[in-house]
Subunit: 176 residues, 2 copies
């Protein structure tokens, strides 16, 4: 079933992503090509306060051409431990720090064409952070009861993949 | 909160994706850039047989550098109705046709940098299809009990985002 890479051509080397075009050999020996976006990976955090509200951020997403409601997330620095990244991104985007950060699995967002893997965490025991929040991220913070977040997912009102995954994983953990 | 596009440069125009680099004006008037992968969108199908097994496909994913277990999925043709695409892709990848195809929501896989939106469907009432299966997709079909699929998601054994979402949405529908 394995495809073999015959050659790689770097099309673009940018700020967040790179783009490679690969010539590959299929299992039957025929040749094909693959367009692969190289992404450093990311973290996303399901942060629950003591009233079991989920902390969500609303921000402009040019790819969707609108503002979207999502769980806090951020791109990994090269070689960065996802746990360290999750601790930082949560503070920068929400002003809260978590006493407990537990892994909730990791997944490829679109393994057909991008290497991006998101490491998901559950954050609890929130207290005010002493790190300054990012000033140029243009983010609005919302606290949404977990039950209401589940309702919005089921109703199709939440349109971000990692957020749907995070809300549904948390709902199972808390028996909702 | 809105960002305004000042100019767009097309870096790549390929088989499945295009890549644009945008100069944008941030809400505070400062300038920044955005790297945007243009993708036609896709469908993914949670197909359940009469024994409540979920039909899954294993295929090589070069971006992940391994074979992955996923729900059936496929890229939209230009202008194609997602329902029509789901009906076709299910048949091509599994050899089964669904009497019922119901929408289970749609989501952006990574709205920070790709326009790809996946339309998710629940497929039931499966019967053998008369369409020939794709011969050059190198896909292995597996029937996995929905409960077992949920266990694999929770254990972190399923690493594809759309599959995790599909399994968890179906689990809620069937009270698992």
């Amino acid at each position: 079933m394995e495809e073999k890479t015959l050659s790689t051509r770097r099309i673009y080397d940018g700020r967040v992503i790179k783009l490679d075009v690969l010539d590959v050999a299929l299992p039957n020996g025929q040749k094909s090509m693959r367009e692969i976006v190289k992404h450093p990976g990311a973290v996303a955090i399901v942060a629950l306060d003591d009233q079991r509200n989920i902390l969500m951020v609303r921000q402009w997403r040019m790819a969707a051409e609108r503002a979207m409601l999502e769980i806090p997330a951020g791109t990994l620095n090269p070689g960065e431990d996802p746990l360290v990244c999750a601790d930082r991104e949560l503070q920068e985007e929400t002003g809260q720090r978590a006493e407990k950060l537990e892994p909730l699995g990791a997944f490829f967002v679109a393994p057909g064409y991008t290497t991006e893997k998101i490491h998901l965490f559950l954050a609890t025991g929130l207290t005010e952070s002493r790190l300054p929040m990012d000033e140029d991220e243009f983010i609005e913070l919302e606290h949404i009861p977990l039950e209401e977040a589940v309702r919005r997912v089921t109703a199709g009102e939440i349109e971000d993949g990692k957020t749907i995954t995070g809300v549904l994983r948390a709902a199972r953990l808390y028996g909702i």
